[in-house]
């Protein structure tokens, strides 16, 4: 079974250092998964072309076109890499909007590499102060290594170099993805709307639940 990786990047310029980092991470994850004997497919989702569709989604409540396709890609991804530029000491609004419009439960248990770019290394704690809490709320599993790249990192080659951090994060994600037999160690904890359509809860059970009986589904 092919392991599906979706790399989401929220850079605004073309080309952007955010996309540059996303490419590095995508390649590294692909290499790390292949090294474990698995086939892998990496799909890149740039949020910039989806900006209007994301604003429309906020106002109408449903996705259209390429945004709908991007959300479907995330729904079927085994693992994610997410990369944002730092804006005002946090992830960008565009980046956050994409995760705001995902239906609850979509990322439950999903392994994720968080990454960010900025002009200066002074912003590097954004990974731990902003991105990790966001993905904890979304019940994703964030790998231990986050990757932060300041402009200067794209020229440095010493021991703490960007490539080493990228490799480490990619290896951690590949390890979490397991042997390819199924997505990950941690099962989704919530039923999504799509789950509800695929396997509707029988009405007798809804009646029991309404009266406060919290019997777990098989």
């Amino acid at each position: 079974m092919t392991t599906r990786i979706v790399v989401i990047s929220a850079g605004l310029s073309v080309p952007s250092s955010t996309r540059l980092l996303a490419d590095k991470l995508g390649d590294a994850v692909a290499g790390a998964v292949r090294a474990r004997g698995q086939e892998v497919a990496v799909e890149h989702v740039e949020l910039r072309p989806l900006a209007h569709a994301l604003a429309d989604h906020l106002l109408t409540g449903f996705p259209t076109g390429d945004l709908a396709r991007a959300i479907e890609a995330v729904r079927h991804a085994d693992g994610l890499v997410v990369v944002t530029p730092v804006f005002s000491a946090s992830y960008s609004g565009l980046f956050k909007t994409f995760f705001d419009v995902l239906e609850p439960g979509l990322l439950d248990g999903r392994p994720v590499v968080v990454a960010a770019t900025a002009g200066t290394a002074r912003h590097s704690l954004v990974l731990d102060h902003a991105l990790r809490p966001l993905f904890a709320y979304l019940r994703a599993v964030v790998v231990p290594t986050g990757v932060f790249a300041a402009s200067e990192d794209f020229g440095a080659t010493d021991d703490g170099s960007l490539d080493k951090r990228v490799e480490r994060a990619a290896g951690e994600l590949a390890a979490l993805l397991g042997d390819g037999a199924g997505p990950a160690a941690i099962a989704p904890s919530r039923r999504s709307v799509e789950d509800g359509f695929a396997a509707p809860t029988p009405f007798e059970q809804l009646l029991r639940e309404a009266s406060g009986d919290s019997v777990h589904r098989p």
Binding site: T64, P200, T201, P202, F203, L206, E209, A210, S211
Partner: protein, 384 residues
């Protein structure tokens, strides 16, 4: 096939004039729109229930009873009656009363409501929305079908020896539709009871409606109420017409661009592509509406939204004139290719016929102190 209109009763500034109707004007306009709908031969008028500005759609049964007194044939319904925050004991009374006042010319559509603060205002918890809909409706059914109810549940005070009055007219409870945009549990509920299922349809991509309707149809068959294509389905729709289609777009665009729900978002053209919104000539509205069957199957009720976003009453009445003109073609189109085994939406008359006739089910109280009764001799049954 029933064809009608539904309204949410929004008080919205007309973006082309800057004028905002008063509550009085909007409420009276709602009545005028309903009377016009009856005049042009529409089958259904439905009004929403909201408990916050900018809506005037609280207390739908008062509105419907008032309209019922001034109309002849039109079925009076809701879009929707809030089954979550309204006490089911009051729903049982109010809609049975409305039956008696309008000679059975009403049904109702249940919904959960999407305004967060309404739940706490009525002492409820929005996170219990599904559970409230399930428990409250189960009680509502018992209040209509059983003369004396002993009941205990989770969300309201218990009932001991309670009789809801008046009893349903002719012993037949109002037909119930369940409305939901995206909750499979509500499609399941409608299917379980063999009730109708209505998808709001407007403001949402066709795929949402198709997914919900198909689930409801499958589960309707699963629960043994008939074949999937015999389930009772209703859809919304949103239209604006002019004989010249480009003029329709030109006139509706300022209302679209500033509409409370979707305004300042996608273009009218994009939104028309993704949702049932149809702005154009009467012929275009006719063709688009008939195309809903391609993903929803042959269905029973089509309701149009014609009066929101600040459209003035005069414009709405003109829209209804145009709708009246295409009504015969709509009916003809819906009848084409419709298999004989696909039923019409139940009405009071059809439900009486299915029950084998009307019954007076008045519950007569007896005075246990004196042993006297107000029960008339031999008043058990009347003919249909």
């Amino acid at each position: 096939m029933q064809i009608g209109i539904f309204t949410v009763g929004d008080v919205t500034t007309d973006p082309t004039t800057g004028q905002t109707p008063s509550e009085y004007e909007r409420i009276k306009a709602t009545v005028a729109i309903a009377k016009k709908a009856d005049e042009i031969g529409l089958d259904v008028f439905a009004t929403g229930e909201h408990h916050n500005p900018p809506f005037v759609a609280s207390n739908p049964t008062a509105t419907l009873a008032y309209i019922g007194a001034q109309t002849e044939n039109i079925i009076l319904s809701t879009a929707t009656t809030l089954i979550t925050t309204t006490d089911p004991v009051l729903i049982a009374e109010d809609y049975a009363k409305l039956q008696h006042l309008t000679d059975g010319r009403n049904d109702l559509m249940l919904g959960r409501g999407n305004t967060g603060p309404v739940y706490p205002w009525f002492g409820k918890d929005i996170r219990q929305g599904i559970n409230l809909a399930v428990e409250n409706y189960a009680l509502l059914r018992r209040l209509w079908s059983e003369d004396v109810v002993d009941w205990e549940g989770r969300f309201r005070t218990p009932l001991q020896g309670y009789t809801s009055t008046p009893r349903p007219l002719d012993g037949i409870a109002p037909f119930v539709w369940h409305g939901s945009i995206r909750s499979p549990e509500i499609a399941e509920q409608a299917a379980y009871y063999g009730d109708g299922f209505f998808h709001n349809h407007i403001f949402w991509p066709a795929a949402h409606a198709a997914q919900m309707v198909n689930l409801y149809r499958e589960r309707f068959e699963h629960y043994g109420h008939g074949r999937a294509d015999q389930a009772i389905v209703g859809l919304g729709g949103q239209i604006f017409m002019h004989r010249n289609s480009q003029e329709a777009v030109r006139r509706f665009r300022p209302y679209f661009d500033n509409a409370p729900v979707y305004g300042h978002g996608p273009s009218l053209e994009d939104f028309s592509e993704h949702t049932p919104l149809t702005v154009g000539s009467p012929q275009q509205v006719l063709e688009r509406t008939l195309s809903f069957r391609e993903y929803a199957g042959h269905y029973q009720r089509q309701l149009f939204l014609v009066d929101h976003a600040g459209l003035p009453l005069k414009t709405v009445l003109e829209q209804l004139d145009l709708l009246g003109e295409i009504l015969p073609d709509l009916r003809k189109g819906f009848a084409e290719g419709r298999p004989a085994h696909v039923p019409d939406a139940p009405t009071h008359a059809s439900l009486i016929a299915a029950a084998g006739g009307a019954k007076d089910v008045t519950v007569h109280a007896e005075d246990t102190m004196t042993g006297t009764t107000d029960r008339a001799p031999e008043a058990e049954e009347v003919s249909a």
